[in-house]
């Protein structure tokens, strides 16, 4: 682990890594703009529901006779901020505006609906990116270049932490379900039960739903692979050689939720692609042995035999 950490420290001052990271930042803001387009399509839905506002949008309760314009206000704010962010991401003022607008919009839709998780990653990544020094003009000093890459790495670490937390609570829940004698994460029919229940909940079908229910043992092995990918994600932050491979693994996980449950996490797919498939820390060339050795847990075995 220390060796990998030392390697990361070296990459924090690598000018080539900085150049690549500087290209990934606008990509994040373009994805936010794409998200805005999707939210604009929800206009009618937003206007039909009312609820108690969360604390960042307490002021909605004081709109009085203008309350009917609430969806317009939030959508205009989000559109203005993300468009400015996409165009002027180099300027901190624009990045602050994006963060504030994302926070306002997220709090608003979370006040209306349950299960609105799409904007957590944009919220915290946009918060991190506020503190980026401007390395896009001139020749920035070494300390600024290093700080830029440290912050970019922090955004990557936050994204991976969300996956780790998701895996962690599956393990916590497993112990409870196992102790109570019911179906649990490692049950033979666990994947089939996930498919049946969540397809009923969301009234959806999926490409592999029938297959998973019919081949329960095979599909439950897939669930174990999912647990490994999720839980150990955070350990990948300090292993740049497997950033791309882990990005592919996370995309495979998202693909699995589409073909099994019929649930798509489209924005996560884009963030994983921008921050890990294009990870500026990943080396251009990579040997499979080195990558195997860097894998969490599996790496222990790989290092012993390779």
């Amino acid at each position: 682990m220390k060796k990998q950490w030392d390697e990361l420290q070296r990459l924090f001052i690598d000018p080539d890594v900085l150049r690549k990271a500087a290209w990934c930042v606008p990509l994040f803001y373009y994805i936010l703009e794409f998200m805005t387009f999707q939210q604009l399509m929800r206009y009618e839905q937003l206007g039909r529901v009312t609820a108690e506002p969360l604390w960042p949008v307490f002021w909605v309760g004081y709109l009085g006779g203008y309350a009917a314009f609430t969806p317009h206000i939030f959508l205009i704010l989000l559109t203005a901020a993300t468009t400015l962010g996409a165009a002027f991401y180099r300027y901190r003022t624009a990045r602050v505006f994006v963060f504030l607008a994302v926070m306002q919009y997220q709090a608003y839709i979370m006040s209306l609906f349950n299960q609105e998780h799409d904007y957590y990653i944009p919220l915290f990544v946009s918060l991190f990116l506020i503190f980026l020094p401007n390395v896009w003009r001139g020749a920035p000093p070494l300390e600024e270049r290093r700080r830029f890459l440290v912050i970019f790495w922090g955004a990557q670490a936050y994204i991976l932490l969300t996956y780790t937390m998701s895996g962690f609570y599956k393990i916590v829940t497993f112990f409870g379900q196992f102790a109570s004698g019911g179906a649990h994460y490692f049950s033979r029919d666990a994947a089939a039960l996930y498919v049946a229940f969540w397809q009923m909940q969301f009234e959806r079908t999926s490409v592999l739903g029938d297959f998973i229910v019919e081949h329960q043992m095979l599909s439950s092995l897939g669930l174990i692979a999912v647990l490994y990918i999720l839980t150990f994600s955070i350990f990948v932050t300090a292993r740049p050689r497997i950033h791309r491979a882990w990005g592919i693994a996370l995309l495979a996980f998202h693909l699995s939720t589409v073909v099994s449950l019929g649930i798509i996490f489209i924005y996560n797919v884009l963030f994983v692609a921008a921050f890990f498939l294009l990870s500026p820390f990943a080396p251009e060339k990579n040997g499979w042995r080195e990558m195997l050795r860097d894998l969490p847990i599996i790496g222990f075995i790989a290092r012993a035999i390779l």
Binding site: L54, F113, F174
Partner: protein, 152 residues
């Protein structure tokens, strides 16, 4: 701010974020305390047999239907786009009725009825199901009517 301090602050933030997530886990609705979230998504493996609450429409606009329709079978009467997370609301309504919590029950009804035309008669039902069997056939082991309502 130096890059070393920035790095320490980031690591500190990630630790705090994880710990706050752990602190709110199981203690707040949906394990969320804005802007923190435990990310405990899809953590429970659904059980093999279940008791679920759902909604059955019996009459619309004063006309009784030929047979009661589950909300999933009655898309022309139940606009799910206007009712976020309908299954959760049915469950909460059933819980509120059992606990005698009139305020929550009224709120749940209001949210459910945003998807129903005024004057629709509907039953809140409780079903015992085999999870995989119900997914395949939509046949419940047993169905009980908990309460009947008419939408405002």
């Amino acid at each position: 701010m130096t890059s070393s301090l920035t790095l320490r602050l980031i690591v500190g933030f990630l630790v705090v974020y994880f710990l706050v997530g752990a602190a709110i886990y199981g203690r707040t609705p949906a394990d969320e305390l804005y802007p923190f979230f435990s990310w405990s998504l899809f953590k429970d493996v659904p059980q093999r047999t279940m008791r679920i609450n759902t909604l059955r429409i019996t009459a619309v606009d004063g006309k009784e239907l030929e047979r009661p329709l589950l909300h999933t079978e009655a898309r022309e009467f139940f606009d799910e786009e206007r009712v976020d997370n309908a299954n959760y609301l049915f469950h909460e309504l059933a819980q509120a009725l059992e606990m005698g919590d009139d305020a929550v029950a009224a709120d749940m009804r209001r949210r459910i009825e945003q998807g129903l035309p005024p004057g629709t008669h509907y039953d809140l039902v409780e079903m015992d199901i085999g999870t995989i069997e119900f997914w395949k056939s939509r046949e419940a082991v047993e169905t009980r009517v908990l309460r009947s309502f008419t939408s405002d």
